[in-house]
Amino acid sequence: MPENSIHVQSLTKRFGETLALDDVSFDVARGELFGFIGPDGAGKTTLFRILTTLLLADKGICNVEGLDVVKDYRKIRRISGYMPGKFSLYQDLTVEENLKFFATIFGTTIRENYSLVKDIYQQIEPFKNRKAGKLSGGMKQKLALSCAMIHKPEVLFLDEPTTGVDAVSRLEFWQMLNRLKESGITILVSTPYMDEAGQCDRVALMQNGRIMTISTPNEVIRNYPLSLFSVKSGDIYQLLSELRLYPGVHSVYAFGQSAHVSFNDRNIEKEILSDFLKKNHHESVSITPIEATIEDCFMELMNTPAKEKTT
């Protein structure tokens, strides 16, 4: 048995002029909850479609449980579960009929693997005679996950499972994934939400078809090289443009209601910055040094040219 559940090396995929995946390499250990984080168009879905044997790569090696995605695609389909980003179960079949259908085409039954999906399926079981199209977003997602798991897969691919789902259901979903992980399934999740990174064992930050960094969420934050402040003031637009003029500023960007300012210099004095802003007629300025979030790290990685990153 191979050591890693997933092994990908120098994977490249081009759609016409667009480079969807640019020399992507990574490994995922067995039983790991691995997250791909990046905005729309980063190449997450393309990567998942190649891993689930739906798409052929132009170049590179791609193994799932030691099986080649091209040569052994049939075997891979037996051992992997895939939940596409778009809800793609039969809307005119009921909850139970959908689950039964997917169980049957994998040559199994609901009863045989009930224990595996029990946790999730129980929550939607009261509605098992309802048509899938009539379910709420959160329930659809639970049904889709149940259907992806009913054949007891070794690897689970979840493409943006939390997109379009409310905050409570999102949190619930991640709790479910963490429980699933305990049964030894390798789980690959993609998400555009930076705040979900902390839920993964390891994350890969993706942008424009490239993986910028791979490590644990804590390590990503620890490796943030700059000192970061959150600055609040009445007029955020004015504030952003003035902060850019401040000497020694590395980057400034809006972050919700406040501005995040980073400096290369670790010894920036909060008071001097405060004075500078007050001179520019900003009245109620509040400046707090903060710990970087994944999003800050992402912004920083995005700004760093590729060459510097590798050194």
Binding site: T53, L54, R77, P84, L89, Q91, D92
Partner: protein, 372 residues
């Protein structure tokens, strides 16, 4: 095999859950048969005639009464003004003007010949031709009577005439309905096969379920079989249903062995379903699939020999028509139902369908593998 059966089961579940599906299967055939069969007819009935009898002799009246007595004609108006009659035709109130000139009887008796005039509205060329043919027949008939009436026994001996008697084979009463019903039934089966099957597969692409299916161990061939089989069954059922309706409502003849009909239908449906599958591989939405199917269907139907005879099409069109699966099946239907043809008679068309089926099934599956 179990997988295929389960896909078929799922497909039937979806078909019958679809609210518009049951009416399509049960009501459309009845409506189509009743409306199309009664409406699409070439029989000339109630040709509206305006008579302009300027002679008003017993001879001319006899001629007019010949038309009056025919079930095909209805004397709409009698007048002495040709202009008035022409006016009526321009307004579309009459289809034909019968003008008997003044001095008709005198001329006929004296000179042995006289002229009458038919003016026929030829906006619809086909019906004008038929009107002309009918009218000429009546006139010929009348002519013979006139000759016989005025001939002396001596002359009678000298007259040798050839009498023509007609007998129409396979449809002795020239009942248009018996001719139309088998054709309309083919139309029905085609609609079910082509439209529904193509759209059904595209629907899976449109709503994305095909993605979920593709990651399962289902083989493409299993998926296709499972998808098309229900429509194959529905198509055959539809044919049986339509034949029963035709028998009950129109009492269509069923001279031949129905087994040949269903055997041919089974092959024909393969062709049509594969055609639908092929269309689904070149389209991405149900709307596109429907438009493309519709395009092919209109061409196929108009060239199928359902309404117009294939023999009267230009040679290039007749050659092209060999690609038209409807043509083969309509022929087989008419031959078996009306003529009672055996397998030897229809074998040419049957084997053509088989070759067609093999070709198009392979093409569709090859395309499907490549695309999906």
């Amino acid at each position: 095999m179990r997988t295929i059966l389960y896909i078929i089961q799922k497909e039937f579940l979806q078909v019958f859950r679809n609210k518009s599906m049951l009416p399509i299967i049960f009501i459309v055939p009845i409506v189509q048969l009743i409306v199309l069969v009664n409406a699409a007819t070439y029989e000339m009935k109630h040709i509206r005639v305006s008579v302009v009898d300027l002679d008003l002799s017993s001879t001319s009246r006899k001629l007019v009464s010949k038309f009056q007595g025919s079930p095909f004609y209805r004397i709409q108006k009698t007048s002495f003004s040709y202009r008035e009659a022409e006016d009526q035709m321009k307004r579309g109130n009459v289809d034909m003007i019968l003008q008997v000139p003044a001095g008709f009887e005198k001329k006929l008796l004296k000179e042995g010949q006289a002229k009458v005039q038919f003016v026929i509205n030829a906006i619809n060329g086909q019906s004008a031709g038929l009107t002309n043919a009918y009218s000429t027949m009546i006139l010929l008939d009348y002519n013979r009577e006139v000759v016989l009436e005025n001939a002396t026994p001596a002359m009678m001996a000298g007259i040798r005439s050839i009498q023509t008697d007609y007998s129409y084979w396979f449809n002795p009463k020239l009942n248009y309905k018996t001719y139309m019903v088998p054709g309309i039934l083919v139309l029905l089966v085609t609609i079910i096969g082509l439209l529904l099957s193509g759209m059904n597969i595209v629907r899976e692409m449109e709503i994305g379920t095909i993605e979920q299916i593709n990651v399962t161990p289902i083989r493409k061939i299993q998926f296709i079989t499972g998808k098309l089989m229900p429509f194959w069954i529905i198509g055959l059922f539809e044919l049986a249903f339509g034949l029963s309706v035709g028998k009950l409502l129109f009492n269509i003849p069923m001279e031949g062995n129905l087994g040949f009909i269903f055997l041919s239908a089974a092959v024909y449906l393969f062709v049509i379903l594969s055609f639908g599958l092929l269309i689904s591989t070149i389209t991405h939405t149900q709307q596109q699939a429907m438009l493309v199917s519709f395009f092919f269907m209109v061409v196929f139907i108009l060239m199928s020999g359902l309404f117009t005879s294939i023999e009267s099409m230009p040679p290039w069109a007749q050659k092209l028509d060999r690609l038209n699966p409807l043509m083969y099946f309509i022929r087989i239907m008419r031959m078996v139902l009306l003529k009672g043809s055996g397998f030897a008679d229809i074998s040419r068309y049957f084997w053509s369908l088989v070759v067609y089926a093999v070709f198009i099934v392979s093409l569709a599956i090859w395309r499907y593998r490549k695309v999906a």
